[in-house]
Amino acid sequence: MSSSTPKTAFWNGTRDAAPMLVVIGPFAIVFAVLATEQGLSFAQTIGFSLLVIAGSAQFAALQLMIEDAHVALVVTAALAVNLRMAMYSASLAPHLGALPVGQRMGVAYMNVDQTFALSVARYEARPEEPLAVKFAYFWGTAAPIFVVWAGSSVAGALAGGLIPPELSLEFTVPITFFALISMMLRTAAHWCAAVVSVVVALVLYDMPYSLGLLLAGAAAMVTGAVAETAMGRRA
């Protein structure tokens, strides 16, 4: 395998990220349209998308805000959706942990589903590559994703302001959840977790501050992990 320079690695990353842009752009538009339609200002909508950069968690937060949930619950539930990114951080650390702290903070900011998946796949295929090449590849994937995410968020926020408020698009939020869920049901363990999440959330729906949702999440997490372990042993 020919060795890469940081420059070629950057462009490899850009090329590998290209197919993902088709999903990221419209996803950012849908969030921004719905957020503005639900009453967030242009600045708040853009702030949401550019400071948080986590589509699923943003939709979770937006839905709970539509329901006027307590601020603490909105934040806790949305952060729970993002907990998986601790795993991403742990997977990148052996490869990028030697960078100066400022550069690690930059990587952390753009450590999203797509940049993580592409970068870890490359690092595991080519563990011998120097740090500078690995870093360049990460930003090769992150740069187009950031540009498309930001541009689409602005477009969506502008478009959302033009939609008359009486045209309710509220049910688009649950539809987005089901679309996300359909992408996640890859194994029997994921199915088990999803079913437990639904059942516990419905049973505990009347708990104050939507605490039932957090308990459902905890129960479903354990269920997924236990189901994975059980199937791993059987295999």
């Binding site: 849908v30 708040q44 949401f48 400071l51 948080v52 699923s56 968690a57 943003q58 937060a61 839905q63 805000m65 539509i66 006027d68 601020v71 909105v74 934040v75 539930a77 949305a78 952060l79 729970a80 959706v81 993002n82 907990l83 998986r84 990114m85 601790a86 795993m87 742990a90 702290v101 903070m105 990587v107 952390a108 450590n111 649950p174 539809i175 959840f177 089901f178 679309a179 996300l180 869920i181 359909s182 992408m183 996640m184 049901l185 994921h190 977790a193 079913v195 437990v196 999440s197 639904v198 516990v200 419905l202 729906y205 459902a216 999440g217 905890a218 479903a220 269920t223 997924g224 992990a225």
Partner: protein
Amino acid sequence: MSYSTAEIWLVIGLLAAGTFAIRFSFLGLIGDRDLPPVVLRLLRYTPVAILPGLAMPLVLAAPESAGWTADPLRLGAAAATLMAGWLTKNMLAAIGAGAFVFYGLGAVFGL
């Protein structure tokens, strides 16, 4: 939604800080020590543990009362979304299918 401007910015700020802390965690502070496998296993299921529990009550909640209801339009839209996503592995196709059922068929049949 009835939050003040300050409360909305509080949500955004806390979410931004918390999400960054999660993303930075091992890269920044904990270094390259390995996570115990049981922790990795739990983390793998966090999105699929929260989102279904958040989504399903939105389909079943009765609009004007405290109970549950089986509204065929909302159930149909949710099922179409799941089915399309599962078959095509394409998120936009899934959202399109659900929106078509809810807004398209809903308007045609006046549901």
